[in-house]
């Protein structure tokens, strides 16, 4: 089947848009690309990102990375227990922070869900409330709690818990809004009250989603928990930043590996919990 110019011309006449997008679309497309590339290049310039600098930095990174091998091993229990304690505190901060955050966020999330709370003003102001909470830096929260409760992991736990209240409430209420209304209607048509509709129609749909949000955030809180130690709110972060500040890269890498290993173990465990509670089925609907 050979196509002649003639045929092309005829086809082009018939469906011109098949050959070329409309002018407006093309202009918009080019404009977008130009803006994007322009901004990008300007950033490169503004941030002074030059190949030479990258090269030099990579050289240093190579040096830093070379301290990974052989891995540093703590020889005395006194040293190692310090690290273990830091890891334990980080874990505690993440776990309790997540649990407490979820406990407070759960009831709040219903206030923010469109299909539950039909009072617009209340719903919208609740949602702004979540935003305010989320805007607090964890470090600032940590300082607030240090003043109230003193130094140590407790301040870290509460800092994470508070910032998680905002995040969880937002995510939970989105999950609630994303549920199908059909089961709710089914319960309603059988004579179920509003609460029963929520309990039987909505809760079974959101529970697995909430569970997986919890597990996911627990894992990521292990990471945020690492930085709190810097202001004295407990955890592995201080130990790590101190090593890096002292250029003890070998030890720093070993700590990083321990953090990675811990996150892995949590990931693995939460995978098991997920399997048990939610089943293998469709999480991402």
């Amino acid at each position: 089947m050979n196509i002649t110019q003639d045929q092309i011309a005829k086809a082009r006449d018939r469906v011109p848009l098949a050959f070329q997008a409309p002018l407006q679309v093309r202009v918009r497309r080019y404009a977008l690309w130009v803006c994007f590339t322009g901004l990008f290049c300007w950033c490169l310039y503004d941030f002074n990102i030059s190949p030479a600098r990258i090269w030099e930095g990579l050289g240093r990174f190579g040096t830093v990375a070379s301290f990974m091998f052989p891995p540093y091993i703590w020889t005395s229990w006194a040293e190692f227990s310090e690290i273990l304690n830091g890891l334990g505190e980080t874990l505690a901060i993440a776990f309790l922070g997540t649990v407490l955050g979820a406990v407070f966020a759960f009831p709040l999330s219903f206030l923010g869900a469109k299909n539950i709370n039909r009072l617009n003003w209340l719903r919208l102001s609740t949602r702004r409330g979540y935003d305010v909470i989320r805007a607090f830096e964890t470090l600032i929260l940590a300082l607030i709690f240090i003043r109230a409760f003193g130094l140590g992991p407790l301040a870290g736990i509460l800092a994470i818990a508070v910032s998680e209240i905002g995040t969880f409430a937002k995510l939970f209420s989105e999950a609630i809004e994303n549920t199908s209304n059909k089961p709710v209607e089914g319960v309603k048509a059988s004579g179920g009250s509003r609460l029963q509709q929520i309990r039987y129609g909505i809760a079974p749909q959101v529970n697995p989603v909430i569970m997986s949000i919890l597990l996911y955030n627990f894992e990521s809180n292990v990471r945020s928990g690492t930085i709190l130690g810097i202001v004295g709110a407990g955890g592995i972060g201080f130990l790590l930043s101190d090593r890096i500040a002292a250029y003890k890269w070998g030890e720093a890498w070993s700590i990083i590996f321990l953090i990675i290993a811990m996150v892995y173990v949590i990931d693995w465990l939460s995978g098991i919990v997920r399997q048990r509670l939610i089943g293998k089925t469709d999480l991402a609907k």
Partner: protein
């Protein structure tokens, strides 16, 4: 002097590592054990990488005692309106109790003092560094009588003490601010030892007044006797429990000038640092 122990059955310490001890890591357990035994009260130690939390805890009466860096002490002094007292600082084997901010140049560059450096490229370490930025800047303005931005041709941050020294050796910068503990122990001397730069290339052209090592700091509203007892106990730590002290100060055989103990200090020795911070804060306010 048993009286305070009824009220203070638990003593809380906040510990920071200070700037000129960057490659030392405190191991606090021996100190804690020693203090509990000596004082007969419970001792809790909290560590932090940054002084904000410790200062908040001090000013909120959450901890009693803190081991701070000099500039952290100054910050605490300001934050509590003078509600803290310094009692002890660290002493090294050669008897020194502090370190100095210095400006270095390449020996063969012909820059022998700050006058020569006028109009040249100068690098501070990083804006958070006391010895690599705050001290030299403050002293240049208040003592030497010039504003670095106007005086030097270019003023930049190198990012770290090491990077500043390397930059001087490579010619990227003409002068750089860093610190040393004494003429044989400092950043560039250590770099020479480790073979990172050739010995004899870097010369010191300016030195600041002594920046006294950070003090053990007490809340002023504690009982006098408590302050005295705890200070005395810490002071005796190296003699009473040498093994513990060595562990605490991460003592190594290679270290030519290790920490050997503590000496008493008073608030005066830090006054200029407090002033310096106030001055810098002032500069920030007026400079914008």
């Amino acid at each position: 002097a048993e009286g305070w122990k009824d009220d203070y059955q638990v003593l809380k310490f906040g510990i920071l590592s200070s700037e000129n001890e960057k490659d030392r890591l405190m191991r606090n357990e021996p100190l804690r054990g020693y203090l509990e035994e000596t004082l007969g009260v419970e001792v809790e130690i909290f560590t932090a990488g940054n002084y904000d939390g410790v200062i908040q805890a001090l000013s909120a009466n959450q901890i009693e005692i803190a081991r701070l860096g000099s500039s952290a002490y100054a910050a605490a002094f300001t934050a509590t309106d003078g509600g803290v007292v310094p009692t002890l600082t660290t002493q090294k084997m050669d008897g020194t109790t502090g370190y100095y901010s210095i400006v270095v140049s390449r020996c063969d560059s012909g820059i022998k003092n700050l006058e020569d450096a006028k109009g040249k490229v100068h690098a501070f370490a990083d804006p958070d560094s006391t010895s690599g930025y705050a001290v030299p800047y403050f002293n240049m303005v208040t003592r030497e009588g010039f504003k670095p931005e106007d005086y030097f041709g270019t003023v930049t941050f190198s990012g770290s003490h090491e990077a500043g020294v390397t930059g001087v050796v490579n010619g990227t910068f003409d002068t750089a601010a860093t610190y040393q503990n004494n003429a044989v122990d400092g950043i560039f001397q250590r770099m020479e030892e480790k073979g990172m730069i050739e010995p004899g290339q870097v010369c010191t052209i300016w030195e600041s007044p002594e920046i006294t090592s950070g003090p053990w700091t007490f809340r002023k509203n504690l009982p006098e006797a408590l302050i005295e007892d705890v200070t005395a106990a810490i002071e005796e730590f190296p003699t009473a429990d040498l093994e513990g002290y060595k562990l605490y100060s991460s003592w190594t055989v290679e270290d030519p000038n290790p920490d050997t103990g503590f000496v008493r200090v008073n608030a005066e020795r830090y006054n200029w640092i407090v002033d310096m911070r106030a001055w810098i804060k002032e500069q920030r306010r007026s400079g914008s």
